[in-house]
């Protein structure tokens, strides 16, 4: 086989992939917005509402059928019948309940915690345009999805570039206890534009309740959790769910650790054998969450001035470990966590930023090392409203090998990256080098175009410095100059 044959064969094989799925641009913009919003979540007593979804414009109206049940009537080329048709779910025949939740206000505790300037952008569909897509019993209570005309007024809606907010329908998930009357139901998601091409989902990781609403005839598959093998590869198995009228109501394993996502659980919707959607479900935001049992974490070195979300709130490393448990679907007894570093990041104008570096050793021996940053934000309109921004510095899964406590870690952390807020300063890049303290005083050095760079790790084996532009690998040496290791700088 020569190079010309390979060229020709590659061209032929590349054609096998076909054309991109329609709506790529919209998905890119939506993903960008989600990434930004994920890092700028309003936080008050654990509130974490993420806006998700992709949509295409569709015009819908609500009609009353002869039996009094609402019917969503598409006026012009509906993208799918996921959101049309009569109410589905085990409570769909309870017309009083359905009508009761349809008329519930979309305001409440959850929305009150959103800064006023952002609150004004959220949709609040006129009552006459609303209908109930799903109403049913789930594990631990009752859920309902109410949708209506999207009258949200986000600043960029006119530009029409963000299909999340330019969608013509919006919706809210409501939840209540078992046997709840409509008045006992309350919003557990923020009002948001609905992705009419894709399914609606809601997942409460605490109770394990999961609902996936797709179109009648669609099949729904679920994957409970990824499996992490010793070589750090990940496998995922999907199992077909019981589906009725395009709706799957499932009881997954509960976990006391609430997370805004991503979750270990993933769903996949097939239509005519083709995958229509594959993603993680939308998070249930409990307005009054029950605090999770605090994880007893092992610290490699004492935390140094870590910025808690709130004076009595969980620390960054606790939030990270809870997120890892939710993301991998494992219990704290299955994973060994080690906090390698927890402290403030000096320098720059973001003086309130902190960083935590946490490792999780899975039963297979594979090790996840994750570093996150966090900073406080003050809302100009409502200074009393607690907010924070957070993001990832690095996140690497490595095969079973040297115990992570013995490893030398080098991490680049760009505090403020992906936070979209005009009045914030630019991201600040910091280098964090961590070494086991039993190594004694060591240096980490590299040669850059601008000249040599080195930092010294003394005491607890920590060095924090402004990130040296262009650095990729650090040579770690002891006091005598003996090279101990060459460490690649990990980053996001």
């Amino acid at each position: 086989m020569d190079a010309d044959y390979l060229r020709e064969a590659l061209r032929e094989d590349a054609e096998l992939v076909g054309a991109p799925e329609p709506g790529l641009y919209e998905r890119v913009i939506a993903a960008r917005r989600r990434a930004a919003q994920r890092r700028l979540a309003a936080l008050a007593a654990g509130l974490a509402a993420l806006l998700v979804g992709i949509s295409v414009p569709v015009s819908l109206a609500v009609l009353q059928s002869a039996d009094g049940r609402q019917v969503a009537a598409p006026l012009a080329q509906p993208a799918s019948d996921i959101y049309g048709g009569p109410t589905r779910g085990s409570l769909s025949d309870d017309s009083a309940f359905v009508e009761g939740v349809r008329t519930l206000p979309w305001t409440g505790t959850l929305i009150d915690r959103v800064p006023a300037d952002q609150r004004a952008e959220l949709p609040d569909s006129p009552l006459t345009t609303r209908w109930v897509v799903f109403a049913g019993e789930v594990t631990g209570g009752r859920w309902a999805l109410v949708v209506g005309q999207n009258n949200g007024q986000p600043a960029n809606r006119d530009a029409g570039v963000d299909s999340e907010v330019s969608s013509e329908i919006a919706g809210v998930w409501f939840a209540g206890p078992t046997g709840a009357s409509p008045s006992q139901m309350h919003p557990v998601t923020l009002p948001q534009g609905i992705a009419t091409q894709g399914p609606a989902t809601l997942y409460d990781s605490v109770t394990g309740a999961l609902v996936v609403v797709s179109a009648p005839g669609d099949s729904i598959e679920l994957s409970a959790r990824p499996q992490v093998a010793s070589d750090a590869s990940i496998t995922r198995r999907y199992v077909e769910a019981d589906v009725s009228d395009g709706v799957a109501v499932v009881a997954m394993d509960p976990s006391p650790y609430r997370s805004p996502g991503p979750f270990a659980v993933q769903y996949r919707v097939r239509r005519d054998g083709l995958i229509l959607a594959q993603a993680g479900p939308q998070a249930y935001s409990d307005p009054e969450p029950t605090p999770a049992p605090e994880l007893l974490l092992e610290y490699q070195r004492p935390p140094s001035g870590n910025l808690a979300v709130e004076p009595v709130g969980p620390s960054l490393e606790h939030l990270m470990t809870e997120q890892i448990l939710a993301e991998y679907g494992v219990g704290p007894e299955e994973v060994h966590f080690l906090v390698h570093y927890s402290g403030e990041v000096p320098g720059g104008s973001r003086s309130q930023a902190s960083v935590a570096v946490v490792s999780a050793t899975f039963p297979s021996g594979a090790v996840l090392v994750r570093a996150n940053w966090q900073e406080s934000l003050v809302s100009a309109s409502e200074p009393s409203l607690s907010q924070y921004a957070d993001g990832g510095c690095s996140n690497e899964l490595s095969p079973v090998g040297e115990p992570v406590a013995q490893r030398i870690l080098a991490i680049r952390c760009d505090v403020g990256r992906e936070v979209v807020q005009e009045d914030l300063p630019d991201p600040v890049s910091t280098l964090i080098v961590l070494a086991p303290s039993n190594l004694g005083a060591v240096s980490a050095a590299t040669q850059l175009e601008s000249g040599p760079f080195s930092v010294f790790l003394i005491g607890e084996g920590v060095a924090i410095a402004p990130f040296p532009a262009g650095a990729r690998i650090l040579t770690v040496a002891d006091r005598q100059g003996t090279v101990l290791d060459e460490v690649r700088i990990s980053s996001g």
């Binding site: 086989m1 190079a3 390979l6 060229r7 064969a9 590659l10 061209r11 032929e12 094989d13 590349a14 054609e15 096998l16 992939v17 076909g18 054309a19 991109p20 799925e21 790529l24 641009y25 998905r27 890119v28 913009i29 993903a31 960008r32 990434a35 530009a159 570039v161 994957s223 990824p226 499996q227 992490v228 093998a229 010793s230 070589d231 750090a232 590869s233 990940i234 496998t235 995922r236 198995r237 999907y238 995958i275 594959q278 996840l368 996140n395 690497e396 899964l397 490595s398 992906e418 990990s490 996001g492």
Partner: protein, 171 residues
């Protein structure tokens, strides 16, 4: 982004995504992963769109982001999830992993870096210097990786022929 940048970016996505997806497919061997890779690369590029002064170079820019993203994903590993019918003891093949095509099964046997070199050199027709710059390695590394990659592909195809021939004799 300004409205004109938005329109510019939208036009770019429409015009260039088929070619970028084909390259992503060769890099990943899986349509789903290729779509994810392309979408992520476009998302990252969109944040810098207003800074890309030379729009002629936009394709090269997104291609670079795609390569970096793929490298990052492979490094992190956790992002690359294989979908299997039953969870094996160790990693199993993705059920949507490309098993067809002339080169895809062979490319799947190669280390990611070697695979990227072959794709950039022989599909994107980049020079050794351009490939080295894109992958952040030396020209010598590109030469050796390309040479070894071709050798391993030859070996793979030779084994396949032997296997097919062996089956044929038994029939």
């Amino acid at each position: 982004m300004s409205r004109s940048d938005d329109e510019d970016f939208r036009s770019f996505v429409v015009a260039s995504s088929p070619a970028l997806l084909r390259m992503a497919f060769l890099l990943t061997g899986d349509r789903g992963h290729a779509e994810d890779l392309l979408q992520t690369a476009l998302m990252k590029s969109s944040r810098r769109w207003t800074d890309i002064k030379d729009r002629q170079a936009a394709y090269a820019y997104v291609r670079r982001v795609m390569i970096n993203t793929q490298t990052s994903w492979l490094r992190r590993r956790h992002v690359v999830e294989n979908v299997v019918d039953a969870v094996p003891e160790i990693a199993g093949p993705d059920e949507h992993h490309a098993s067809e095509g002339k080169t895809l099964p062979a490319l799947a046997q190669l280390p990611p870096g070697m695979r990227a070199v072959l794709v950039l050199r022989f599909y994107e027709d980049l020079s050794e210097a351009e490939t080295a710059r894109l992958l952040g390695c030396s020209i010598g590394t590109v030469k050796s990786q390309a040479s070894r990659g071709l050798a391993r592909l030859r070996l793979y195809f030779a084994d396949q022929r032997a296997c097919v021939s062996g089956h044929g004799e038994g029939l």
